[in-house]
């Protein structure tokens, strides 16, 4: 099989498995509506926290509320999409411990698609909705001299950001194959990452900003391109073209995560029970 047909095969398997889970969750419609609403509330708490802070101050790290809402909306929407597509990855460790991971390996469908679609939960739309609402409010109230490149950058950020977060999910899953009981390390990078990006880079120490820009390039989800859109200087020196580099960074992250996933799969040893 060529690379292309593997990809198509994976997408088909993903669609089928995800569809099954969606149908199953729709069996109890009221329960579904309640969990979507609950999800919206849980994720919205972060923003309520930011609003509480702004009830006491006018700016944080030199950024105003609409500007931080812009960062927040971008981070949460991008993360929400990655979470919807691959959010079940963190049960991988549990699947390896109880031996059910072995079943996925012998099925005639790409393992990544099977793990990603496992327990596919449409209720995660709650997070995307909440992020999108804050983003829409931010776009309406932020003080920006809009130009074509700036306007175009907004959807590009959401899509690239979702791809970067997806890469983090896949890399985290590969890590779980080595450290079987450590799903929380993945949470530190996924949930921790999106929380970090909800605040302006000026708030954090230079070393942390450097790490998130060059080592684990989460800054390209929103910080770097958003600084350009808002006309704010980035706390560390970067060439101007990097404001448009998010898609490139996303592709590179996905490629690296793919390699990590393959290495992980190849080194997998079943628990044997």
């Amino acid at each position: 099989m060529g690379e292309r047909s593997v990809l198509l095969e994976g997408l088909r398997a993903y669609r089928l498995i995800a569809g099954m889970w969606v149908r199953s969750s729709m069996t109890y419609r009221t329960s579904f509506v309640v969990t979507v609403f609950g999800n919206l509330m849980v994720t919205g708490l972060d923003f309520v926290g930011i609003l509480l802070m702004f009830s006491q101050v006018d700016s944080l790290g030199g950024w105003t509320l609409p500007e931080i809402a812009f960062l927040y909306g971008l981070s949460v929407t991008a993360f929400g999409i990655a979470d919807l597509v691959l959010g079940s990855m963190d049960v991988l460790g549990a699947r390896m411990r109880d031996g059910s991971f072995d079943i996925l390996l012998v099925r005639p469908a790409p393992v990544l698609a099977q793990v990603g679609a496992d327990r596919f939960a449409l209720r995660r739309l709650g997070r995307i909705t909440q992020g999108a609402v804050v983003l829409a409010w931010a776009l309406a109230s932020v003080d920006v001299d809009w130009s074509a490149p700036k306007a175009l950058l907004v959807p590009v950020m959401v899509v690239s950001g979702a791809a970067i977060f997806s890469a983090v999910f896949v890399a985290g899953a590969a890590f779980q194959i080595f450290a079987q009981d450590a799903a929380e390390v993945q949470n530190a990078f996924t949930y921790g990452g999106t929380t970090l990006l909800q605040y302006p880079p000026t708030v954090f120490g230079k070393d942390l900003v450097r790490g998130v820009t060059f080592m684990l390039p989460l800054a390209f989800v929103n910080w770097v391109p958003a600084a350009y859109v808002l006309g704010r200087p980035y706390p560390i020196e970067l060439p101007p073209w990097t404001a448009f580099a998010s898609p490139l960074v996303a592709v590179a992250c996905c490629a690296l995560a793919g390699v990590a996933w393959r290495v992980g799969l190849r080194s997998y040893r079943s628990t044997g029970s």
Binding site: L45, M53, E184, V185, V203, F204
Partner: protein, 266 residues
């Protein structure tokens, strides 16, 4: 076996059970440290803008952050302690076995949860707190008395936290499914315990209200006692009053539930 020794054994069981997951504990330490770092920087920016917000100086705000990370798993702020197993046992009907035990249901689960809390604090809480103390200026007392008072508030905070979650778990007798209740526990726990922002810094009437709710007994009170921001006796009374009220409510609900208990499964 005396009943004191029985509950001590249950507590030891709770401790050992969580001590089994070593990699998960290390991973939890890592996660709490990362979140602590993110919060510390945002709080420093916030206190830069508004010095003495909520009556804290910067060192106190930093101390508050790392204490929160230390107590997050200890007090099961977003749920995930004994109530999780209790809900599952009610849902599957296994609770019937527990009701036949010659032990008090509430005390039995409290003992197990205290054991769990003790392990989570030693295994998962102390390291992020020490990390914070090493790398950031914190406001910690140098005499023994505030530390001793702090230990008492921690114990009372554990009981209040359990009492809230026990009530939530009992609701499964009527609801049959804990999913919605768990979400409510998570939202209220994170928000009203002051994980998002110290309750001292909540504005206006809203602030006055959140500071008298039982969740204030969990992080805000221990933090204020440790940093000498409140009279320890006042804190003890506040926490103990909520503990007694909530445990009593739990007993009432428990007897109502067991009178109508329908064992599921077969």
């Amino acid at each position: 076996m005396g009943s004191g020794r029985l509950y001590a054994a249950v507590a030891a069981g709770g401790f050992r059970r969580y001590a089994t997951y070593k990699a998960a504990t290390v991973a939890g330490v890592f996660t709490n440290t990362v979140f602590g770092l993110i919060l510390v920087y945002t709080y420093l920016a916030l206190w830069e803008e508004r010095p003495h917000l909520g009556g804290y100086d910067q060192a106190q705000a930093v101390t508050y952050v790392w204490l929160g990370q230390c107590l997050y798993a200890t007090l099961a702020i977003q749920g995930g302690g004994a109530e999780k197993d209790l809900m599952e046992r009610i849902r599957t009907g296994e609770i019937a076995v527990d009701l036949y035990r010659p032990a008090d249901l509430q005390l039995w689960w409290l003992a197990g949860d205290v054991g769990r809390a003790l392990f989570q604090m030693l295994g998962r809480g102390v390291v992020p707190f020490a990390f914070g103390a090493v790398f950031f200026p914190m406001a910690l007392p140098t005499s023994v008395t505030p530390w001793a008072a702090f230990v008492v508030t921690l114990l009372l905070a554990t009981v209040v936290s359990f009492a809230i979650r026990y009530l939530a778990a009992l609701s499964v007798f009527w609801l049959m499914d804990g999913m919605g209740v768990n979400q409510v526990l998570m939202i209220t726990g994170v928000f009203f315990s002051g994980m998002v922002l110290p309750l001292n810094a909540f504005p206006g009437v809203f602030g006055d209200i959140v500071r008298v709710l039982p969740w204030a007994a969990q992080i805000q009170m221990p933090a204020d006692v440790l940093m000498g921001e409140t009279d320890p006796l006042r804190a003890f009374v506040f926490q103990a009053a909520w503990a007694v009220a909530l445990l009593a409510a739990g007993r009432l609900l428990q007897s109502a539930a067991t009178r109508r208990v329908v064992v599921q499964g077969g």
